[in-house]
Amino acid sequence: MTMVQALNAAMDVMLTRSGDVVVLGEDVGYFGGVFRCTDGLQRKHGRDRVFDTPITEAGIMGIAVGMAAYGLRPVAEMQFADYIYPACDQLISEAARLRYRSGGEFTAPVTVRAPYGGGIFGGQTHSQSPEAIFTHVAGLKTVIPSTPYDAKGLLISAIEDDDPVMFFEPKRLYNGPFEGYHDRPVVPWAKHPASEVPDGHYAIPLGKAATVRSGTAVTILAYGTMVHVALAAARDAQVDAEILDLRTLVPVDIEAIEASVRKTGRCVIVHEATRTGGFGAELSALVQEHCFHHLEAPIERVTGWDTPYPHAFEWEYFPGPARIAEALRRVMEE
């Protein structure tokens, strides 16, 4: 199944299991979402469980926090991660802090789903990767899947989690894995092993990375779309890289990171978000703090440039396999 179908299945499972789960957002109801992630859910679970909202991301979050405080588990869709900024106050000042400020009496177990990342000619307002804004916020968890299997298991965990979870969905992976070669034919998920998705309920724990390739030469830390791009880069550069798919950014799986970098002595971090202050900075700082004496080369960051995502130069912007391969070669030279 595709990642879209896997996400749909996760919500379906959770809507079925618990009357407290509701799904809300712009166009998620009758229509089933502009990316079809909620297709059929309103018909199946009813209009007061799955419904369209007015176009106001701040409003959606405020409503979701109130619903969560009541005891529901709202799954709120932001149509694009680029449109999440109006919701920042309700996310940062409210959802993230409610448990703390109420001494644990009120909580906000909201799951915020948002398609993120580029590669669909969406220009600067349909391509952004704003995860670093939220990974800086104490009280929020941040999750980014890279396969249909993970997407379902992680989304179920996010909905079941008692804390607010930012769930960013790599839209370039919705309908097929993507190695970063935009000029090669699109491969469907069907050919990928992680598109085998079990029926019903299963959970992938938050906070645990997956080793998607074992290796000894260098550690690549990646998440979302970049996991597939990193795999392609390692293959193409013929570097025996160990690739960690972080899956959860906060809390990050420091043990997995530490173990791998201590083994390889080298580290390349990749993300699509702009570089300065991106989550790669935190990863670099952590690796440096935890593995200083094991590092044989400077940690490299391969990221989106520090510019908005340009429509026509999408592929010049995207940190593709060639740029990652270059970084791999650089760290291997040290």
Binding site: G19, V22, D48, R49, T53, P54, T56, A58, G59, G62, I63, A64, V65, G66, M67, A68, A69, Y70, G71, L72, P74, P86, D89, Q90, S93, E94, L98, R99, Y100, R101, S102, G103, G104, E105, F106, T107, A138, G139, K141, D162, D163, G207, V250, P251, V252, I254
Partner: protein, 414 residues
């Protein structure tokens, strides 16, 4: 555009200014105050479009002689009235003591609600104990109307060892799940859409509890106000949206909030929400309007917006000095009087009260506040402690402490 470009006159910016500033006499004579009892009372299922006049009128029940008049008289029994009086007096005494404690350095900050006591107290009494309240920092009266222990409130103000919020919040940012009193946010406005979400959740679950929210006229400019009204209107949420127009937002008057050319109740009309404008210093009017709105909500008729027309008699907070931006002692001239005086006068007019009983009640209230104050202070004050363990600083960020917080906690040595 078809003719040559015409010569246009220069534009200029209008910046609202309050009628008086420090140095001049306060003058409320231009304020239009309709007599008590004149506003009509529509049925609770009246469509919004058929009651737009009430967003510009003023629901008043208590007249200048202390008689309850007109269709909005809620006809409350003596016990309820005295309970209201006691609660309002308790709020005022509590405020006095806490403000004094702040001046004495026992805590960092305090906010009074002087002149606005009728709002929280009457509204707290007019809804069910199980309904959920989303207040701002000026509705301490809700907790008191719900008989929440003063000691618990004071412990919050002192951030002491007895503070259920573990010293995390600034004073007056109370929270009590048990009291149906939502955690007050420092960020203005956010509770307004949350209340609508809570009410929608209650409706989704087929529950019967409704929600009520409060916002200041100043904070209505925040987006959350708009989002709350939009969602409440679209989904007919069972919520009472209260808007306390006390005429000031720190140093800026209601004209800066958009109250120069219309009422704040009128905001609701644009969303098709029935909207009332109510004398906020009139215990009976506030009670009646709230009951009316609650009935609507319970009958699945949706939200009501209530503008509570009042005046912030005291400073914004202990950090504020209103003499810097408005004539001194402005509150004492408020033409709609003092809510406590007016309810006392009503009780006397009813023949069920006397100055002697009033004094007795005042003594009782003072005593209760003093006893609570001593007990709370024995559990600690901000200047001296004791506090909860510093270790609690790392708790409740998440349900379970993740590795990085665990590590930081160890680094902090707590």
């Amino acid at each position: 555009m078809d003719a040559p470009v015409p010569v246009r006159a220069p534009l200029s910016l209008h910046v609202p200014e309050p009628p008086q500033r420090p140095g001049s006499e306060i003058d409320f004579s231009t304020l239009a105050v309709p007599p008590a009892g004149t506003a009509r009372r529509p049925d609770t299922d009246c469509p919004a479009a058929d009651m737009t006049d009430l967003a510009y009128d003023l629901v008043r029940v208590l007249d200048d002689q202390g008689h309850a008049v007109g269709p909005w008289d809620p006809v409350l029994g003596p016990d309820t009235l005295v309970r209201g009086l006691r609660a309002m007096m308790t709020v005022r005494a509590y405020d006095e003591r806490m403000q004094r404690a702040q001046r004495q350095g026992k805590t960092s900050f305090y906010m009074k609600c002087t002149g606005e006591e009728a709002i929280a107290v009457a509204q707290g009494m007019a809804v069910d104990r199980s309904d959920m309240l989303f207040p701002t920092y000026r509705q301490q009266g809700l907790l008191i109307a719900r008989d929440w222990p003063l000691v618990d409130m004071m412990c919050q103000v002192f951030s002491n060892a007895g503070d259920r919020l573990k010293g995390r919040q600034m004073p007056v940012f109370y929270s009590s799940r048990e009291a149906g009193f939502f955690s007050i946010s420092g960020n203005l406005g956010t509770q307004y859409s949350q209340a609508v979400g809570w009410a929608m959740a209650s409706a989704i679950k087929g529950d019967s509890r409704i929600a009520a929210a409060w916002i200041g006229e100043g904070a209505t400019a925040e987006g959350d106000f708009h989002h709350a009204l939009t969602f409440a209107s679209v989904y007919r949420a069972p919520v009472i949206l209260n808007l306390v127009n006390n005429h000031w937002a720190i140093s800026s008057f209601h004209g800066i909030a958009g109250g120069e050319r219309t009422t704040f109740a009128a905001r609701g009309l644009g969303y098709g929400i029935p909207s009332l404008r109510v004398d906020g210093n009139d215990f009976l009017a506030v009670f009646a309007a709230t009951r009316w709105a609650a009935e609507r909500a319970r009958a699945n008729l949706g939200p009501t917006l209530i503008e509570l027309f009042t005046y912030r008699a005291a400073a914004h907070s202990t950090s504020d000095d209103p003499a810097k931006y408005r004539p001194e002692n402005a509150g004492a001239h408020w033409p709609l009087g003092d809510p406590i005086d007016r309810l006392r006068q009503h009780l006397i007019a009813l023949g069920i009260w006397s100055e002697a009983r009033q004094e007795e009640l005042a003594r009782e209230v003072a005593e209760a506040v003093q006893v609570a104050g001593k007990e709370a202070e024995s559990l600690g004050t901000l200047d001296k402690g004791p506090f909860q363990s510093a270790r609690t600083m790392f708790e409740d960020v998440y349900k379970t402490m993740p590795w990085h917080l665990e590590r930081q906690r160890r680094q902090a040595g707590v």
